[in-house]
Subunit: 247 residues, 2 copies
C-alpha cells in the first residue's frame, strides 16, 4: 500500500469506527429511555399518578422512532461497509437488541394503561407490593443487560439470564396469591385483573432483558447461547474464558 492509499484507508476506517460508535451510543440511549419508562410506569401505578401514566403511555412513539432510525443506520452500515467478524456481530446484535428494547417500551406503555384504568376504577386491594418488587427487579435486569453490552461483560450478562429464572418464580407466586384473593372477593376481580396484567408485562420485561443478555454473550464470545439451559450457558462462557486465558 502506498502512502496515499494508506491514508485513504485509514480515513475510511476512522469513519467506519465513528459510525459503529454512533449506532452503539444510539442503542444505549434507547435503552436508557425504556429503562426510565419501566420505572415511571411502575411508580405511576403504585402512586396512582395519572399524569405520569399518561406521559409513559405517550412516550411509546418516541421509542418506536428510535428503533426505526437505528434499524436504518444498521442497514446503511451493512450495505456500505460490509462489516466482517466482530464488527458484523456488533451490528447484528444491535439490530436484535433494539427489537427487545422496543418491546420493553411496549410493556411499559401497557403498564401505564393499566395504571390509568386503576385511577378510574379505584385502587386494587392487592398486588402493589409485588408490582413494586418485581418492577424493581426487572428494571435492574434491563440496566445490567445494557451495562453488560457497554462493557462487553459476559459474566454480567449471564447474571441477568440467571435473574430471569428468579423473576419467573416471583411472578408465579404473586399470581397464585392474586387468584386466591379474587376467589375470596369476587367484587374486586376487575381491579385485581389490572394488576395481574401488569405483573405479566413485568415478567415479559424480564424475558426481554434476558434476550438482550444472550445477544451480549453472542457479541462477546461469538457463540449463540439462546435456548440453552443456564448450566450449558455458563459452561460455554467459562470455556471461552479458559481459551482467552490460555492464549
Amino acid at each position: 500500500m502506498n502512502k496515499e492509499t494508506e491514508g485513504f484507508s485509514q480515513h475510511i476506517s476512522q469513519q467506519f469506527n465513528a459510525e459503529l460508535e454512533e449506532v452503539r451510543t444510539q442503542m444505549l440511549e434507547m435503552g436508557g429511555l425504556v429503562e426510565k419508562q419501566i420505572n415511571d410506569a411502575v411508580n405511576a401505578l403504585i402512586n396512582g399518578d395519572g399524569n405520569l401514566a399518561e406521559k409513559v403511555r405517550d412516550s411509546d412513539q418516541a421509542v418506536n422512532q428510535m428503533e426505526v432510525q437505528i434499524d436504518e443506520e444498521c442497514m446503511r452500515i451493512l450495505a456500505r461497509r460490509q462489516p466482517a467478524a466482530s464488527d458484523l456481530r456488533l451490528v447484528m446484535s444491535i439490530n436484535k437488541i433494539i427489537v427487545d428494547l422496543e418491546r420493553i417500551g411496549d410493556e411499559a406503555s401497557k403498564v401505564a394503561k393499566r395504571a390509568l384504568h386503576l385511577v378510574d376504577e379505584g385502587q386494587s386491594p392487592r398486588g402493589y407490593v409485588e408490582c413494586r418488587h418485581i418492577g424493581a427487579h426487572v428494571r435492574k435486569m434491563v440496566q445490567d443487560s445494557l451495562d453488560a453490552f457497554a462493557r462487553l461483560d459476559s459474566d454480567l450478562a449471564f447474571a441477568v439470564a440467571r435473574e430471569d429464572k428468579i423473576v419467573d418464580q416471583e411472578y408465579k407466586t404473586a399470581m397464585r396469591e392474586l387468584v386466591t384473593f379474587m376467589m375470596e372477593d369476587p367484587r374486586s376481580i376487575g381491579r385485581v385483573l389490572n394488576v395481574l396484567w401488569v405483573l405479566r408485562s413485568l415478567e415479559r420485561v424480564g424475558d426481554h432483558a434476558r434476550n438482550i443478555a444472550e445477544q451480549v454473550i453472542y457479541l462477546v464470545i461469538g457463540r449463540d447461547v439462546r435456548y440453552k439451559g443456564l448450566k450449558s450457558m455458563e459452561a460455554t462462557i467459562q470455556e471461552d474464558q479458559g481459551e482467552v486465558g490460555k492464549s
Copy 2:
C-alpha cells in the same frame, strides 16, 4: 470481463442464489411448523386432548433450533456474500421474521400448557367458542403473512395488518365477557383464567403475524411501514405501486 472471469462470477452468483433460496425455504418451513402448532394447540384445548397438547408443548424446542440455524445461515451469507440492495433486504427480513415465528411457537406452547391445566382442573365453563374463532383468525393471518412473503405480495401483507385490528377488537369483547362471567361465578375463576391467558396468547400471535406482514412490505417496496397507522401504510404501498405502474 473475459470469458474465464465471467464464468467464475456466474458460478459465484448461482451459488449465492442457491443459498438465498435455501434460507428462504427454511424460513417458510419454520413458518409452516408454527402455523401447525397454533392449529394443534387450539384443537387440543377445545377437545381437551392432553396428548396433542403435550406434543405441541414439546415441539417448541424444534422451532427454537430452526431459528438458531436460519440465523447462523443469515450471518454466513452476510459475512461471505456481502449482499446489497434487495438481496440484503431479503436476508435482513428473514432475520427479523424468524424472531416473530419463534415467538408464535412460544405462544402455541403456552396455549398447549393451558390446555393441559384444563385437562387436570376440568373444562372451563366459558370461552371455547372465542378461542376457536380467534384461533382460526390468527392462524389464517400467519398463513397469509407467509404466503405474502412467498409471493412478494404487499397487498396481501397489508390485508394481514388490517385483520390485526379486527382481532384486537374480538379479543377485547371476549375478555369483557369472561370477566363478567367470573364475577357471576367466582368458583370458576381458576379455570376461566386459563382461557383468558389462551386468548391473550392468540392475540399476541396476531401481533406477530402483523410484524411479519410489515417485514414483507419492507422487503417488497423497500420502505419501513412499522408503527404507521393503517391509512399511512396503505398510502405508502399505493404510492409504490403507482411508481411501478408509471415506469
